[in-house]
Every structure is written in C-alpha cells, then in structure tokens.
Symmetry: C2
C-alpha cells in the first residue's frame, strides 16, 4: 500500500458520510418545522463553533492536507456557505479536489517536510507526522463534533452514519 492509500480514502469516507448526515439533518428540520439556520448555527457550548464552521473545517483539513502533503498550491476556500445545500456542495467540491490527486504525488510524501500554519505558529513536520498528528486529528475532531451537534439536537443519526456504512 502507498502513502496515498493512507490518506486520500480516509478523507473521502468522511466527506461522503457528512454529506448524507447533512441531508438527514435537513429532513429533520422539515419534519420538525425547525428553521435550518437554527441547526446550522447550533453549537455544543456557546464558545464552540457552530455546525456550519465544523463542516467548513472538515473540508479544509482534508483538501489542504492533500495540497500540503504533495507540495501543491494550497487552495483558497472562502467560508461562504449558508445553507445545507451549500455545505453539501462544499463537501462535494472538496471530495472532487481530493480525487484530483494521483497516488504518485504522494510517493515519498510521508518523509518529506511539510511546513504549515497551526494557529499562530509555523510548524514543520514530516508528511507522515503531519497527517497523523495534525491533519487526521483535526479532520476527525470537526467531523465528530458536527455529528455530536446534530445528535444533541435530536437528528436520528448514529456512528454508522458517521462511518458512512449506513
């Protein structure tokens, strides 16, 4: 297996599962007469990020990780989404972008330096460490938090939906 196999398919699994989860959340809004904005702006605590930002972060940690690992230009992704449909489009666009990478672009990327911004700090890690210790934990953190926000608000989803096997 290659370093490509260690990264791209993992991102695609969750980008896909979140798309379905958002569709379930939108249906929940319709069924329960909830304004979509309420759920899109829902948070687990007042100073946490709302659902919309969680999804945007998931997309960025997937797409930008692939760009950084392959030393490609890191795409600019303004956070303009305001509806479930726009968030699904953002997820789809991110999946499409991630799919543009070829396995050979990842060859050797596990031991190449990746320099990136982590909050106020500029860090350099080997690609494997960047994936393990930065990209994956951030990516899954925001994905699971998005799931938690929806679950907490009564959307009838579960871990199998998060895993994309439902």
């Amino acid at each position: 297996m290659s370093f490509y196999d260690a990264s791209v398919p993992a991102f695609l699994q969750i980008l896909g599962s979140l798309t379905s989860i958002l569709t379930r959340a939108e249906a929940h809004c319709k069924a329960k007469n909830i304004q979509p904005d309420v759920l899109l702006g829902a948070r687990l605590y007042p100073d946490m990020l709302p659902l919309t930002r969680q999804i945007q972060f998931v997309c960025d940690f997937a797409g930008k990780a692939c760009a950084r690992l392959t030393h490609s230009e890191v795409p600019s992704t303004p956070d303009t989404e305001k509806t479930f449909d726009e968030l699904r489009q953002r997820l789809a666009k991110t999946s499409d972008y991630v799919r543009t990478f070829k396995p050979e672009q990842f060859d050797g990327a596990d031991s190449r330096d990746v320099t990136f911004q982590a909050g106020p700090n500029t860090m350099t890690l080997k690609g494997q460490q960047f994936l393990n210790h930065f990209a994956f934990p951030n990516f899954y953190f925001h994905a699971a938090t998005a799931h938690g926000i929806l679950r907490h608000n009564g959307v009838e989803i579960g871990k199998l939906d998060f895993m994309g096997v439902n």
Copy 2:
C-alpha cells in the same frame, strides 16, 4: 516511514491528551461541586453513550487495532472503570500496551488481511483499509465525542487539549 509510524503514534497522541482532559474534568467537578458520577455519566443525547463508555471505546479501538493489525492475540478488556482515576489508568494501560508493539510487527501489515467484528458482521479488510476506514474513524469518533460531552458540560478545554498540544 513505516506502517508502524502511521498507526501507533497517532493512537498514543490522543490516549495521552484524553488523560489530561480527564484530569481537567475532575478538577472542574471539584471546583464546581459536581458529583464526578454526573460528568462520567453525561451524554450528548439520552440514547448516546456516556463519557465513561466513550473513553473505554477509545482504548479498545487503539489497543485492539494494534493487536489485529499485527495478528496478535486481541486482549480482553472488561469495562469496569467507575472513576476518573480508573479511566486514566485504563488509558495508561492502553498506552503501555500499544507501546509494546515493535515496528517490525507492522511490516507488511498494511497489505495483510485483518478479519474483525463490526457490530453483528464479520469483515475482512487489508490492514491499511482496516486502519483508515474502521480503526481510526472509530477511535477519533469516540475521543472527539468524549471531548464534546465535557465541553458541553462546561469543562474549560478546547481543540488544542484534544490535540495534546496544550
């Protein structure tokens, strides 16, 4: 970099960060005069698992993944923890167990078959796919959900604590 590098350090990062997070949660209980059992039993929704079970699952997805990937005996881990201290011991024991694996045990494990139980189903995947599509998403899901439960209950932690860089 090796397949060992792709798996073991990622598990250890979060097992360590959750240990610190539980210490913060316990201190929060003391400061706010909250019975520890209340926080240990907290859930994001009534039919979700409580904090204690989220931590136990994190441990199992780390330890048992390493066992399965290396075709080692999968350890039996009864879920007996009832206090913050016992949960920290479980995390520590899991970290110690994960550290017993040697890099060479993971050589070739990315393309070896792993047969495992996923709910009611027996599945077989290549090691890399097992790690990407089953072990990691489950591991991070429960870890981030544990973080979300505590955050929702007012424990003053954040993503940097989850990442183990605080």
